[in-house]
Subunit: 744 residues, 2 copies
């Protein structure tokens, strides 16, 4: 591939980007697309119409300016800490690759270009390989330039990483301290409550916590089984009961109970009915309830510190019983996973791990096919009828320079939903944990399939045999990576740039919107979009490009300018999307930064390893010798950061929580917080097709009035639940079933 | 090597064992050796003379009978839980290898022997290789016997492991619940107290804990710097001060203060001196104290549960400050490591890891030499003058069958002290943790150096290149392991049997005793031996033999009878040693069992891997196919055990501790416990050449009387400390500087 082909590829991509960005700037001004491009604003402002009268059909770059001007505080308030972390990853990438680009263009590129004593062609016809390290002579003294560049890149990356980690740790602490009283701080999730034939889970739990945590235990809320199968079973049982009830005692009017209007008269009625019916009715309902109870519950504590203690210390001598965790935030709870028996979890984790690895390996097939496209002779052998067409120069350039990346990108689109499914099966109790787990899976997957498999070209079997030889790895990589640098440069162009254009266009939601609006003719209210930011696809993408950048920086510095443009565009596009499009339903509190940090350190180590291999191949013992301390220092740096910062992302510290508790006491907010806690984890309001009750069913009649009115609510909920309801689609933060699985 | 050579080796070892055991049975009856062979009994009974009048010079097997008859309860009371776990490891080995021996002798051995259609020699001249799996034809249908044997061994091993783990977990729980109030349960170790220029560490700590743990904080005790350098510095400063004091104010008689007799008159004197001297004197002393304070302290809590909480939850948002851990038991504290700045620890860990790996690799040199001995032709080339001697058959048999193992054993003797040193440098805060860490290091070292390096014979470089190929590993092992089975059999004979004889003889303490008693003519009182059980050498040895047994069981079943005899002997010998010789100073609470469990599972997996390789080499696809589910099930079993049992060994559970706290309250023992706590971690009594003070120096005068008398104690300690003292050698549990570094 020569410079001209690269420029063709760049030209196509620039054209695509400009067209799509212009389209976007027009489309976003159309009132009919407001719910696609301003979903977040609509959700927060609840006003559908924004002044968009003038210049509706003229493309304009105003959105770029607006995206540029947004402050970090705005992003924090609108997108949460995760959005800030995401932007910080981009800023870090821009900074480090600016330094790399300058250093490598000034020092490395000339050395590479003049590496061999050869006649140079004119630049456009020059092969791209002339600009890579392959062009440097064996034993050349100029390799110190590469070694020095590597040092500068590593040192600047580590320094930037350190300050970013420090500042994000501080942001996380501020986020915890500054947040309004958060129910999840007072709540733990108890799973694997032991089964007893004599009493319900609810009673067992109440006994345990009132005995062992008497001074700090506040109340609890059982979790009830839900899901389609359970619903069908319940419905069948209910029908049986109704028939029996109707035939036996006609005096009771169950029809009233199903009205579901939460008026106080209804409550009174139910209360009376309950008391007149006496024991039989209530035990019936109680039986019904305990049958559907999960051995899991949310337990509320009187202080944050008490909740943290109960969550972190194993409760009994059998670690498989009374398993406690800090509860996720109410909107972050992944309800369908909470009822999974704890004993299954370890098997689920193993199964998911095995499936993910298997999926990675099966995916080799399309990747191998894509790799075949860059080698035209192979393709011509496979499809002889293409020979004529492929001789055309333009077609040739498109097929080698553009098509492989596009096919790869299309295949890669299928990966995030699959990984999200795996993470759901794994048993995460919160949506953010599921997304984080999917993010890691997608990251491993992408780096393995985009980088390693492409590097070790050839058949599937020969790739595997390469990996069997461990000590030859640096040398093998040193041979393979520079040869693939061209492919990665086009990958940055096609996958990177184009993905940003598609991201800003929101093609799929746009089409859905048009379909719903003009074909289904749904009402305006039904058209709210509620996408949450797809961190599990975007974080791995950014990190993959960082990985490619570090790996190729000193080997093929020509990639860096393209990469830098990508990061700049990404910075603008994602800031725009965070402010305008995505709704923040839950926040992991910056948990994506440790992933980014680890990946960056891995990228640095990997680039140093390849450099070692290259210097070895080029027989420059001085450069090799000087490179050896680099990975050692990088590892020490990584270890230090793990010690210093990582625990803050793992759990909260006593000091902070106690200070917050004291502050609440001082302000006299405690009772208010307790009151809010009672309704915070309401299974029925947070999750469609389910019911929720706190405390032990109808046993708790003799408690305070607040509790008994709650019992009424419960009774109502149980009765309401049995009636099939229409699926609610509101813009509230609670309904989380997003329309687009990929972006969920 | 043929059967005759093996029998020669066995004969020599049996002779050595019988002679040494007889010697032992005589020596143990000599009154002069009582302190060598009955150290523990002496320490517990405090009576030096046991009735040993009759038959003093006739060997007798009575000790074997006695060792056999000891009950597990006796071992628990005398040797602690660790001793019970050690005996359980032996019992497990005996059980599983009895099953293996029966299965393999009945099923595998005949198949191996009749594997090839060849003329068999008479048994004594038969090569040992005829009895290994190498003798089975390629594609033989009889390989199902090996496969079935592997299944039976794996299933029985896993079943036994499960029940052992369960029972040891219960024992550990009983050990915690049943123990008398243990100061370590109420105490945490705080390290990395932040430095403040305004106040001492002691005051900072007091403020922090009385603010954040007001309801549960009881008191604390600072840790003071100690060690040779600090001592010299202190002494120098002291001399300066004395000279100044003497020259300036002759009225004060500091000489009195150094008398060190802990009488009440001394206390009074000091008290008066303090009050008459007024401010200047006390601030002087205070300055002196705070200068020598470490940023570490023991903090006492009012309940076990509070202490556990404070230990497990990170205290502040900076994880490098206020680092808390559950304190080790008072006699288990490794004082010299407690003052290590916490910031150093991660570097120390890395350095230790690197050093251990380097040590392992350097150790290849003697191992390679030993391996050369089994190949006589190589030896003859290296030392031509030996040729004549080596032609003698008996010399030949000794050199090939016995010498390599002996040399290896001698070299291996140097390993445990080195690993113990590494573990000390690593920064363990307790002696038991140091021993556990050393045990792991010795284990990795032994399995690597005895097994792997011996298996991959040849030069150092070719060994390393073998390990670079990952996918060929099973096949490589399948070729190499059966070939080395003979060596391992002789290793069991020489290293195993002989080590037991040497263990029971206690050669080194015996020689020391003779030297001290008859040459130095020390008094009886000075001759107490205070060895603690060398778990860090004995656990890895037992596990190594288990590893060899599992690996060779179906490949070379002839080893199993020898191994079984070894385990039987070990069972008797170690029970005898636990009851009679070793003093239990500290107990890790069964922490060695998870190590044994993991190693056994690894051994099983490894034997399955080798079997897979062998079946592959022998082209028996059926046997290979049937073997594949085995490692998967073994891994699942391991994962289940990790989930179910391991957390109990990691930390205590809330339920148990709260129950214990309530029981104490009920019995009214609380005040008594608090009183004991004040003196439990007395640095000066537990550690020679150091001083100890609780609470904040002389600031605490206005507290209750118990505290002020404590202050007196402190003052006394500080003064006492400055005087060089004779090293105390008593039998008390507190003095732990054992005479023999190897067994320490």
């Amino acid at each position: 591939m020569d410079i001209a082909a690269l420029l063709t590829s760049a030209g196509i991509n620039i054209a695509v980007c400009v067209v799509l960005f212009s389209f976007y700037s027009v489309l976003r001004k159309q009132p009919s697309n407001v719910n696609v491009y301003f979903g977040r604003r609509l959700a927060s402002q609840h006003s559908r119409h924004i002044n968009l009268c003038l210049e509706r059909f003229v493309p304009s770059p105003s959105w770029i300016l607006k995206a540029w001007e947004i402050s970090e505080d705005e992003i924090l308030t609108n997108g949460g800490l995760d959005a800030v972390v995401f932007v910080r990853i981009l800023v870090f990438s821009i900074r480090v690759f600016s330094i790399s680009a300058v250093i490598c263009t000034v020092m490395v590129l000339p050395v590479n270009y003049h590496g061999m004593d050869r006649m140079h062609k004119i630049i456009p016809l020059e092969s791209l390989e002339v600009f890579t390290i392959e062009n440097v002579k064996e034993g050349s003294k100029w390799l110190w330039a590469h070694c020095l560049a590597l040092y500068i890149i590593t040192i600047s990356a580590c320094t930037l990483l350190y300050f970013e980690y420090k500042s994000i740790t501080n942001l996380r602490l501020l986020h915890i301290i500054g947040s309004p009283p958060n129910p999840s701080h007072f709540t733990i999730l108890v799973r694997s409550i032991p089964w007893s034939s004599e009493e319900s889970y609810c009673e067992t739990l109440k006994k345990f916590f009132s005995y062992y945590h008497a001074s700090t235990y506040l109340s609890h809320q059982m979790i009830y089984k839900s899901g389609t199968v359970q619903k069908l079973k319940d419905d069948a049982e209910h029908v049986c009961k109704v028939i029996r009830d109707v035939s036996l005692e006609r005096t009771c009017k169950p029809a009233f109970c199903y009205s579901g209007t939460p008026t106080s008269s209804f409550k009174k009625f139910c209360n009376e009915m309950d008391s007149t019916h006496g024991r039989s009715g209530s035990t019936d309902m109680n039986l019904d309830t305990s049958k559907r109870e999960c051995p899991a519950a949310f337990v509320f504590f009187k202080s944050r510190y008490a909740a943290l203690m109960a969550a972190q210390i194993s409760q009994t001598s059998n670690p498989m019983l009374w398993v406690t965790d800090i509860a996720p935030e109410p909107h972050d709870v992944y309800w369908s996973n909470i009822c999974i028996p704890y004993r299954q979890l370890w098997i689920r984790k193993i199964v998911t791990l095995v499936s993910s690895v298997a999926f990675m390996l099966v995916f080799l097939i399309p990747v191998t096919f894509v790799q075949g496209l860059t080698q035209l002779d192979k393709l011509q052998k496979m499809f002889p009828f293409l020979t004529g067409m492929l001789k055309e120069k333009f077609v040739n350039q498109i097929v080698t320079g553009y098509l492989p990346s596009v096919i790869l990108v299309l295949f890669l689109c299928a990966v995030p939903p699959v990984m999200m499914l795996f993470s759901a099966v794994e048993g995460s109790i919160s949506r953010s944990a599921r997304k984080k787990s999917a993010c890691c899976k997608v990251l491993y997957f992408t780096i393995w399939n985009v980088f390693f498999v492409n590097v070790f070209t050839g058949s599937v079997i020969s790739q595997l045999s390469v990996f069997s030889s461990v000590t030859d790895l640096p040398a093998q990589l040193a041979k393979a990576v520079p040869a693939q640098a061209t492919f990665f440069t086009t990958y940055v162009l096609s996958s990177g740039w184009a993905s940003l254009a598609f991201e800003v266009m929101q093609i799929f939601p746009l089409l859905c919107n048009i379909f719903q609006r003009f074909i289904l003719r749904l009402k305006e209210d039904a058209l709210y979009s509620n996408l949450s930011f797809p961190y599990h696809t975007e974080v791995p993408r950014i990190l993959l490009f960082g990985f490619l950048g570090f790996t190729c920086a000193i080997l093929a510095p020509l990639m860096l300018p393209f990469l830098l443009i990508y990061f700049f565009l990404a910075y603008l596009v994602y800031r725009n999307q965070i402010i305008n499009v995505y709704i923040t339903k839950y926040d992991s509190g910056g948990q994506f930064w440790p992933i980014a940090h680890n990946t960056t350190v891995f990228s640095l180590l990997f680039s140093q390893l390849i450099a070692l291999g290259v210097f070895g191949l080029k027989r420059s013992s001085v450069a090799s010798g000087f490179t050896i301390p680099l990975p050692i220092c990088t590892l020490l740096f990584h270890q230090y950061c793990r010690q210093r910062f990582l625990p803050v992302f793992r759990s909260n510290s006593a000091q902070i929580l106690i200070d917050m508790d004291r502050r609440d006491e001082h302000c006299g907010r405690v009772e208010e917080i307790y009151e809010n806690l009672r309704s915070a984890y309401n299974q029925s309001s947070l999750m469609p097709n389910s019911s929720s009750k706190s405390e032990c069913g109808s046993h708790e009649k003799d408690k305070d009035s607040g509790q008994s009115s709650e019992d009424m609510e419960k009774g109502k909920e149980i009765i309401k639940k049995d009636r099939p309801r229409p699926v609610q689609r509101t813009s509230s933060l609670s309904s989380d079933k997003a329309v687009f699985g990929v972006n969920q």
